[in-house]
């Protein structure tokens, strides 16, 4: 039987079919949502669907350097490319190979789109920008991807080798040092004959060990070089010759020690993080947890590799974390420090990680196991005896109920504020719509972004299958990429890649704040151009998430009641403006239905006010804190 993860990604043809069919709908909705008073209407030029309908054509010798590289990307299964024009030879060659390719409005947002795509699929994707300004526009989101341990392939053009140091023309800068400290591997290619070799370097790094971005720069001579046949290249091997699929296996002695600890423990917990997702180890995790009644709490850049609906889930049971007497971090690549996770100082700490050089960093460990996540979890499942821990399971259930009761109380308070939309109302209504309404609760993939709004929504969003939640702000703490993530996540769902296959074509929900929207909001145009069904909720509280006073106050504030919904309409999407709490749910319902039926994105501009954060005594519960790991996790 075919495993879900082994399914072919959704076909390019079905994706394009949806795009073409939806083209007509665009004009209809435009008329309703943004009737122009003068000038021509927004329209999708015929050239876009025509371009997307152009058949892919795999390159063969004779090839140019760009084609050799694109061919290697295709053979490695590069799942998508997100870019802006520039680095022309490379992006054109990648598109020609049939790799799903998307062109957006800023390189930075497209870099975030690739990151979001990867976080919910587990597959490698690429972003690309033109040399100099296009490349440097990506920097913030390369740094984000690095902190998130995302296997992101960053591509950029980089002047001509012949013009080294000459400042000839424009956009000249030596780019590799710019990503120092933000990548796993980087190289400015200088020998055209080694272009395939460096594709191998890139994918060897992207597909083994702990992932992080790989950055390749392509001077013009590399992309444009011509090769009559393989003998013109210094290195042209199949991927089976330049990297291995083998994974590190755990030391049986260490596994026995941990199994004994699990046996003795009364309240064991596994922290299932990024490595469990990228290692596709969720099946092994579930088997181990169920065999020995081990609680599981999630952390990391995406959620759902252990269902929130499971009786052993502690992701929505923050009150129980401090009770754990054994904590096993599995694939926690971005490691918290003591104090950043809510565990007892008396707990026994174990860590399973493929990289021995990271074990013991930040958090002291009592036992370290070097292994792939999957192999270690399988070995542990074999080593532990079946066990039941009814008292621990009951404590988890009680903690989950307490948490839900607290959320319900927040919602009740939020609904009592009638002059603006409180974050608790948005969070609760989204949760109710997604998990307790007509939709299958595991269907909708969510981008959980924003700062203050994020503190609320994360308490209410639930994940029931891998890749269901893309955690927006993570360790690097950037609030701006959310619309970029939304585009990438939507592309993943439309294409049905990896764990999104079962929900191919479904709309997605994304949440951001007014501060975050400013950075990547132009990508509503990209969503409209590609007919991505995204419901983008913007929490508009007229301010950054922090406040100043006296002579500095103005620097923290925006003009009030800005119309981000109108921005969306002006970019070819829909807009909804919600100013009262009871109006949010109907707006959500309308937006979702139009997204599902007509593949049109909507911005729901939720008018809130800064006083909800700044005057917490008057407007409880105010800005919320968090406990990590689990559904509230923000930093790690």
């Amino acid at each position: 039987m075919q495993n879900e993860n082994e399914r072919e990604p959704g076909s390019r043809r079905s994706f394009i079919k949806g795009l073409t069919a939806a083209t007509g709908a665009l004009a209809a909705v435009k008329g309703a949502a943004a009737a122009p008073t003068n000038g021509p209407s927004i329209r999708l030029p015929d050239a876009i669907p025509a371009s997307l309908n152009t058949p892919a054509k795999a390159a063969s010798f004779p090839m140019r350097g760009a084609q050799v590289f694109a061919r290697a990307c295709k053979q490695e299964g590069l799942a998508a490319l997100f870019c802006c024009p520039g680095n022309y030879d490379i992006i054109n060659a990648i598109a020609d190979e049939g790799i799903p390719s998307f062109g957006g409005r800023t390189e930075g947002a497209m870099c975030a789109a690739a990151d979001g795509f990867i976080r919910v699929t587990g597959e490698v994707a690429a972003c690309s920008g033109t040399e100099g300004p296009g490349f440097t526009n990506m920097i913030m989101n390369i740094a984000v991807a690095n902190a998130a341990r995302t296997p992101l392939l960053v591509l950029a053009s980089n002047k001509r080798i012949a013009d080294e140091d000459a400042e000839m023309g424009i956009q000249t800068v030596y780019q590799q040092p710019t990503t120092e400290g933000m990548k796993k591997y980087g190289k400015r290619l200088i020998d055209p004959k080694r272009v395939h070799e460096y594709a191998a370097y890139a994918f060897r790094q992207l597909k083994t060990g702990v992932p992080r971005p790989v950055h390749l720069d392509f001077p013009a001579e590399i992309a444009a070089a011509r090769f009559k046949d393989a003998s013109d290249l210094r290195y042209y091997y199949d991927k089976s010759k330049y990297r291995t699929e083998a994974k590190p296996y755990p030391d049986p002695k260490q596994i026995r020690l941990l199994a004994e600890r699990i046996q003795k423990s009364e309240r064991p917990i596994i922290v299932a993080s990024t490595g469990v997702f990228y290692g596709r180890a969720w099946g092994a995790l579930k088997e181990l947890a169920e065999k020995a009644d081990i609680a599981v709490v999630e952390s990391g850049t995406s959620r759902g590799h252990f269902s929130d609906g499971h009786r052993l889930s502690a992701s929505t049971a923050p009150g129980a974390l401090l009770s754990a007497d054994l904590v096993v971090f599995v694939g926690q690549y971005s490691m918290p420090n003591v104090g950043e996770v809510a565990f007892s100082p008396d707990a026994f700490y174990a860590r399973i990680d493929p990289d021995p050089s990271d074990i013991g960093r930040n958090m002291p460990i009592d036992l370290g196991i070097v292994s792939s996540e999957q192999a270690a979890l399988e070995a542990l499942t074999d080593a532990v005896a079946p066990q039941r821990r009814e008292a621990w399971v009951a404590e988890l259930a009680a903690a989950r109920k307490k948490f839900e009761d607290e959320n319900a109380e927040y919602y009740k308070i939020g609904m009592s504020y009638k002059d603006a939309v409180h974050a608790a109302v948005i969070a609760h209504e989204l949760s109710d719509f997604l998990y307790r309404g007509d939709l299958p609760k595991e269907q909708t993939t969510v981008v959980s972004g924003g700062y203050g709004i994020g503190r609320y929504c994360r308490r209410f969003f639930r994940a029931y299958r891998p890749g269901q939640i893309c955690n927006g702000a993570y360790q690097y703490g950037a609030i701006g990429p959310d619309c970029g993530y939304a585009f990438g996540v939507s592309a993943a769902v439309q294409l049905g890649v990896g764990p999104q296959a079962a929900h191919q074509g479904a709309p997605i929900i994304a949440v951001t704040g007014d501060a975050g929207f400013a950075y990547t909001g132009m990508e509503l145009e990209t969503m409209s151009k590609y007919k991505m069904p995204v419901v983008m909720v913007v929490y508009n509280n007229n301010t950054w998430g922090v406040s100043g006073s006296g002579r500095s106050a103005h620097m923290y504030l925006f003009q009030e009641n800005l119309r981000y919904d109108k921005v969306a309409e002006a970019l070819g999407a829909r807009g909804e403006y919600v100013t009262k709490p009871e109006d949010f749910r109907p707006a959500l319902q309308r937006s979702y239905e139009i997204a599902a039926k007509e593949r049109i994105s909507t911005v729901i501009n939720c008018q809130s006010k800064k006083e909800f954060w700044q005057q917490a005594q008057q407007y409880p519960p105010g800005f919320l804190g968090k406990v990590e790991p689990g559904c509230m996790a923000y930093d790690h």
Binding site: E266, R267, P318, G319, L321, L322, S323, D325, N337, V338, G339, E340, V341, A342, S344, P345, D346, P364, I365, D366, E395, G477, V546, A616, Q617, F623, L624, G625, K626, V627
Partner: protein, 152 residues
């Protein structure tokens, strides 16, 4: 001394990032260690009254404020029968006293009997929960201001 042995155990396991002690003329012993968020903590052991004290554990807590009340309620809850037994403080064995002097909050654990192992364990766990499970969740802005934790 049991108190030292128990605290050293945390230091040896790496829970405390560093550990040292000084003995005052009065005979009380001050233990210093870096712990949560690498912040410095001071725990004073006085054998005559059998007390362990985190002096000036929390700064800038206005008496009578919401935070002041919240802290008192949190401490009261630590002995509640509604808590799981492994998280509860047995008042028969150790009592907890809260004091707020001009905004500086200290916590004193008075040992009834001689179960210092239990007292140290409960004191460390209570302060751990106070910081990572209570203040971090309920009063994030206080934590940012008082301890200069990262805000952004």
């Amino acid at each position: 001394m049991v108190v030292r042995t128990e605290l050293e155990r945390y230091a040896e396991r790496g829970v405390f990032g560093s550990f040292s002690e000084t003995v005052a003329k009065s005979g009380s012993v001050e233990f210093r260690f870096n712990w949560l968020w690498k912040l410095p903590f001071h725990l004073t052991f006085d054998s005559k009254p059998q007390t362990l004290t985190f002096k000036k554990l929390l700064p800038d807590v206005e008496p009578g404020s919401d935070l002041d009340a919240g802290l008192k309620a949190f401490l009261k809850d630590c002995s509640s029968a509604e808590r799981p037994e492994h998280r509860r403080i047995d008042r028969e064995r150790v009592s907890v006293r809260f004091s707020n002097r001009r905004g500086a909050v200290s916590l004193t654990f008075r040992v009834t009997g001689f179960d210092y192992e239990y007292a140290v364990n409960r004191a460390i766990n209570l302060v751990n929960e106070l910081f990572v499970g209570f203040l971090n969740l309920r009063y994030p802005e206080y934590m940012i201001k008082a301890f200069r934790l990262p805000e952004e």
